[in-house]
Amino acid sequence: MSPVRSFSGGAVAVAVLVLGLGVAFAVGRFPVSLTDIAVALWSRLTGTPSGLSPAVEAVIFQIRGPRVLAALACGAALAIAGAAFQGLFRNPLVSPDILGASSGAALGAVIAILFSFGIFGIQAAAFVGGLVAVAAVYAVGSTIRSGDPILTLVLTGVVMGALLGAGVGLVKVLADPYNQLPAMTFWLLGSLSAASPADLLPLAGPVVIGAAVLVALRWRMNALSLPEEEARALGLPTGLLRIVIVVAATLTTAASVAAAGIIGWVGLVVPHLARFLVGPDFGRLIPASALLGGGYLLLIDTLARTLGPVEVPLGILTAVIGTPFFIWLLASSRGGWS
């Protein structure tokens, strides 16, 4: 990787993030300029009056601000988890949905909605569902001792995902079609429309912890993406590292699903865009994925709330972009994943 490409690639990732931030605040029924944000933040920090109208301050701190931060955290979380999973499973076509993280979280959430839990109950259930699903996939996958262990694990994840999907279907059949079903459907399609300041801590906490682990281990992910025996011959405790990385990536994914529902494709598409910008070296890829993922989801979320009179679910927009992207990837991937 030439230093020029990686530097300019990193600059592009930062630019996308800044653009996403600017657009997300500026666009909407109540436009807020970057100057307004700077003034509002400065007044909060210094305790001096900002001179802005209370409506603008409310939009910045109560409505759009939390939503922007949530989009940033979810996008970064899904992208960083996707980059880590792709390296760990040596397969650029996997995403956090693999290993059942998303479908487990979905089942947890719809069960919580079925039993009329509050918003925190739904988030907690999604979180537990995601972690339990991954633990189950890992346990089942590692008791099967034939063939390639990575492939076994991935296939176990796909199969468990299908089973969990059937569970979600069952819960939807049992749900009250007037009150619960629309909530479930909307949640399963992904949305940040309900993001409030109270949601930020349960989202940011796990995301920051998981991301910190992945960022700290990013230099080892290069060797870890080699065949198992080579990685061990290079001196890596591969078994332990794999578990730590899977737990960290699942943590960020589950936190994102708990806050915003299922937003597919981000964890697949963004690491590829990041690889295109800074190359496959995980030392640069992991931070670039986080920056780009945040900016990407901010732009998608801004689209979602401005496209029509009704908010378009995020999962639909990401799928519309992700599907052709995936097909293009499949068709053009012969030269290796640069």
Partner: protein
Amino acid sequence: MTLGAQDLAFGYRGHPVGQGVSLAVAAGEVLALLGPNGGGKTTLLKTLLGLLPPQAGSVVFDGRDLAVIPVRERARLVAYVPQSHHGTFAFTAFDVVLMGRTAHGGLFARPGAKDRAVAAAMLERLGIAHLSERPVTMISGGERQLVLVARALAQEPRFIVLDEPTASLDFGNQGKVMRQIRSLAADGLGVLFTTHDPNQALGHADRVALLRDGGVMALGPVGEVLSQERLAALYGAPVETVVEPGGRTAFLPG
């Protein structure tokens, strides 16, 4: 200093491959492991590297049981050159060689200036410095094999173990890789490689071990061990010998 097997039984759980193997490679020596396909060469190699646990007996590094040496320290003693493969991601040759420095830094450490210098020096030493910035998915099989040798050297090991280093290489590249292997031993490394070509063992190794059905059929200096009769017995097929007027010998499948 030696790396060796003592009365070693090796294989996979519930699937023994070989037993009773005792051999050792010394610093500065090239030992070739020769045998037919399915004779257990690769499995023995992985056991010697500590990648597979011995089923009985032990792998000994300089008097210490390899099994009690931590994985990180092991990587600074013995390096592994696998058969050339594409890999999943288009890392540059430099990035791949830099991975050889894994065991020299902490788990969270960014590769430092010294690591980068060692990686660059190893690329230079193998004559492939010009490939540094090329993705390994875009270079030839022979070049990729040299990159993997450079990565092993970047580990700064005492012993280097190569699995069929010339399989899938064209004729010219085979010679290039084998000459590099020879020069490693001249620098004091112990080298062990597997091959199914007796001429490669004859031309580039000091000693050879003949492996058949998971056991050592013969072990000794190449000139003494490699004979028409032994090779015919090893492969279960007729072998012809060609002797140059200058005295050099080559074997041909009969």
